[in-house]
């Protein structure tokens, strides 16, 4: 595995995930609009939004810590792209390394941390409320998300290498096919919903309450970078879940690619359904859900996985 290979796959992931993520977000917007009797935006809307943001003036508030304010969106973007690169390219059995799933888990937490850093650097009151919520949300969904990873790791013969997990599933069928697999998948989808900041867990942005929350002071290209991070996360997050529970995303054959896309669409549809049939939860309710029900469910899933169900 040469440095050039890593670099090229990084660039490829950056480009392809950005484009696919924006298209996925368009599907989300379009389906949501159709559910709500609206027409919805054209397919290029997210690209147009991003290009427009690049051309807009970038304001850095007087009270802000300028370095942190500018650096955090970049940090989030890079971390998400690296996570994507590991999931899609590096985690093959020949190039992967032990415990890469744990690295991905950490990297996927970085965008939230970037939002927290950026929001706190902006010095805005509403952003402060937003980041306090984002922080609690992060602490909330990480524990169930780890449970989801642990269930998959135990099921696939106690390994935390994504390559081995995928290989195990190719030989023995998807982990989703077992009791503990279903539990882990449900937890994973809800935790990702929180990671992506979709309703009912959009309380860090909560337009109707705190007017955009953590991102309130961001404008221009910096806001664009946050949107881009979200687009990449929109692909990388579900892809991670596909690797853990749905047998991975194979790029080696056309059937592999098509089945991979179908798996992705399954998760996307779940996101959209949850998002459109729920109101926003309060932060205490969110934490009660994640630390209470979902963590208990996660522990139950781990026990089931150990027993072998």
């Amino acid at each position: 595995m040469s440095a050039l290979y890593i670099f090229l796959s990084f660039v490829m992931v950056f480009l392809s995930f950005s484009i696919c993520g924006m298209l996925a977000m368009w599907i989300d917007r379009k389906l949501t609009a159709r559910l709500q009797f609206r027409v919805g935006p054209p397919w290029y809307q997210n690209f147009a939004d991003f290009i427009k943001l690049i051309g807009k003036e970038t304001l850095i508030p007087e009270k802000a810590n300028a370095f942190m304010f500018v650096a955090s969106p970049v940090l989030g973007l890079i971390a998400t792209t690296i996570a994507g690169t590991i999931i899609l390219f590096i985690s093959r059995t020949d190039t992967g390394f032990p415990a890469d799933a744990i690295i991905v888990l950490y990297l996927l937490a970085v965008p939230s941390i970037a939002i927290i850093l950026g929001g706190s650097a902006s010095g805005n009151v509403l952003a402060a409320v937003g980041i306090s919520r984002e922080m609690k949300l992060l602490l909330g969904y990480e524990l169930p998300f780890i449970c989801a990873l642990v269930i998959s790791a135990i099921k696939s013969g106690t390994t935390t290498s994504l390559g081995s997990i995928i290989q195990f599933q190719q030989q023995n069928g998807m982990i989703l096919g077992s009791f503990s697999g279903v539990i882990g998948f449900i937890i994973g989808v809800l935790a990702l919903q929180g990671k992506l900041g979709l309703v009912p867990f959009d309380l860090a942005e909560a337009e109707g309450e705190i007017a955009g929350g953590s991102l309130i002071e961001y404008s221009g290209i910096l806001l664009g970078l946050f949107k881009l991070t979200k687009a990449i996360l929109f692909i990388a997050g579900p892809l991670f879940l596909i690797s853990l529970y749905l047998g991975g995303f194979s790029l080696s054959s056309i059937t592999g690619i098509i089945s991979g896309i179908l798996k992705y669409i399954l998760i996307l549809v779940l996101f959209i359904l949850i998002r459109n049939t729920n109101p926003r939860l309060r932060i205490d309710q969110t934490l009660r859900l994640f630390w209470g029900w979902l963590t208990l469910l996660g522990f139950a899933g781990i026990l089931l996985a150990i027993v072998g169900w």
Binding site: R38, V125, D202, G208, E209, I210, P279, R280, L281, R282
Partner: protein, 401 residues
């Protein structure tokens, strides 16, 4: 003052003057400790248009159009109350057909206003599906308005002594058909809202107003009825066709935001009941739609109407000329909004957003006399200031003479 000094130490989360939560400019300063709101300050006056003063410069008939423009949502409540006030002064009876038509317009307005609130409440909770669906179902109501009056929002139906236009007999089946379809849709929406466990978790026990609070603040309308206070001008002081048809006042006991939603949604069905009975009463008949009014004698009159948000009150005084010498308006939000002092304090920011929206505040109705300086946060034109200004000017003129 002591309270204010304490407040300066806390974080102020501003809601307004321009904020996605508010459809109109308004400023709520939430004093917070973490997510918890410990005090709320309210500043109004961004939208003051001097309607009462304007009214004194228009003749009686023009004022009907003027007060219609106080608010786009209750655009029939103000003319309704105003006409009631003048008819009180004149001591005339409105022809029966006109009374039925007035009630139809009033109830259609309640229907569209309540649906609008349900949608907005959904939006504030981040539940945009409810937002869009409720507004979609509101559209047919506006279509009915267009059939009857030619306009979707400002109907210009009211006239002193009656109504301006008749409801044509051939339109009635169309109206019935639309209402029939609407009923099923609202039933579905009501079911979806009331049975949703997540919505219940967000709204139940949030922003509770007790009967005691309602009486102390003098709150009116659905806000009062949700707390079990059975007040409704339509029943308490019957006017138009309300005593002639059968309907009931909806009340609930808990006084939280969920109950406010329940009251509003169930009131939609009562409104449809009233409309359909009124349509029965006028269908296939012909009759006068206005009483003749030539002159308004000197005197004073009061008029009330149960607007979608509560009691709308108009007072007028006449000196026998063709325009009011005084026109006082009290809109329901004026008494409903201050209940935030009882319902918001101690709640989290997330809940305060929906509690503030829960009274269905309508700021443009409320703005009457206060003028504020936003930066210095003080009232500008209080009585003392105006008296001083007046004295200054007198002095100035005296010197010039």
């Amino acid at each position: 003052m002591n309270n204010k000094q304490q407040n300066t130490k806390k974080v102020v989360v501003p809601i307004g003057p321009y904020h996605p939560l508010l459809e109109e400019p308004e400023f709520f300063a939430l004093y917070c400790e973490g997510e918890k709101v410990v005090d709320v300050e309210w500043q109004a006056g961004y939208n003051h248009r001097g309607i009462e003063k304007l009214s004194e410069s228009k003749h009686w008939d023009q004022v009907t159009f003027l007060v219609e423009r106080i608010c786009g949502i209750c655009s029939t409540s103000h003319p309704f109350a105003y006409c009631n006030a003048i008819e009180d002064l004149l001591g005339i009876t409105v022809p029966e057909r006109a009374r039925y038509i007035r009630s139809i317009i009033g109830e259609l307005e309640r229907l569209h206003s309540h649906l609008l609130w349900v949608g907005l409440a959904g939006h504030f909770l981040g539940y945009n599906t409810v937002f869009m669906w409720a507004w979609k179902y509101r559209e047919p109501v506006l279509d009915i308005f267009e059939i009857i009056t030619g306009n979707r929002n400002h109907y210009a139906m009211f006239k002193i002594g009656g109504v301006r236009r008749d409801i044509e007999n051939e339109d009635i089946p169309k109206i019935r058909k639309v209402l029939g379809e609407l009923k099923g849709k609202i039933e579905m929406l009501t079911g979806a809202v009331l049975d949703d466990p997540v919505l219940a978790a967000r709204l139940k026990g949030v922003g509770v107003l007790t009967k005691e609070h309602i009486k102390n603040f003098g709150a009116v309308g659905p806000v009062a009825r949700a707390s079990g206070v059975d007040i409704d001008v339509r029943k308490d002081d019957p006017y138009a066709a309300y005593p002639l048809v059968e309907w009931k006042v909806i009340t609930t006991e808990n006084g939280d935001v969920f109950d406010k939603a329940v009251v509003r949604l169930l009131e939609c069905f009562e409104s449809m009941k009233i409309i359909s009975q009124c349509l029965d009463a006028i269908e296939g008949k012909k009759g006068e739609i206005q009483a003749e009014v030539r002159e308004v004698p000197s005197g004073e009159g009061i008029g009330r109407h149960e607007a979608p948000r509560g009691e709308c009150f108009h007072y007028i005084r006449s000196d026998g000329t063709n325009r009011p010498t005084r026109h006082k308006i009290r809109a329901p939000s004026y008494v409903n909004i201050p209940t935030f002092k009882a319902s918001c304090i101690g709640q989290t920011i997330a809940d305060v957003a929906i509690i503030l929206a829960g009274v269905d505040p309508c700021y443009c109705c409320t703005e009457r006399v206060a003028v504020y300086d936003v930066e210095k946060k003080k009232k500008l034109h209080n009585f003392k200031y105006l008296v001083e200004k007046s004295k200054e000017k007198t002095e100035k003129i005296r010197k010039e003479i």
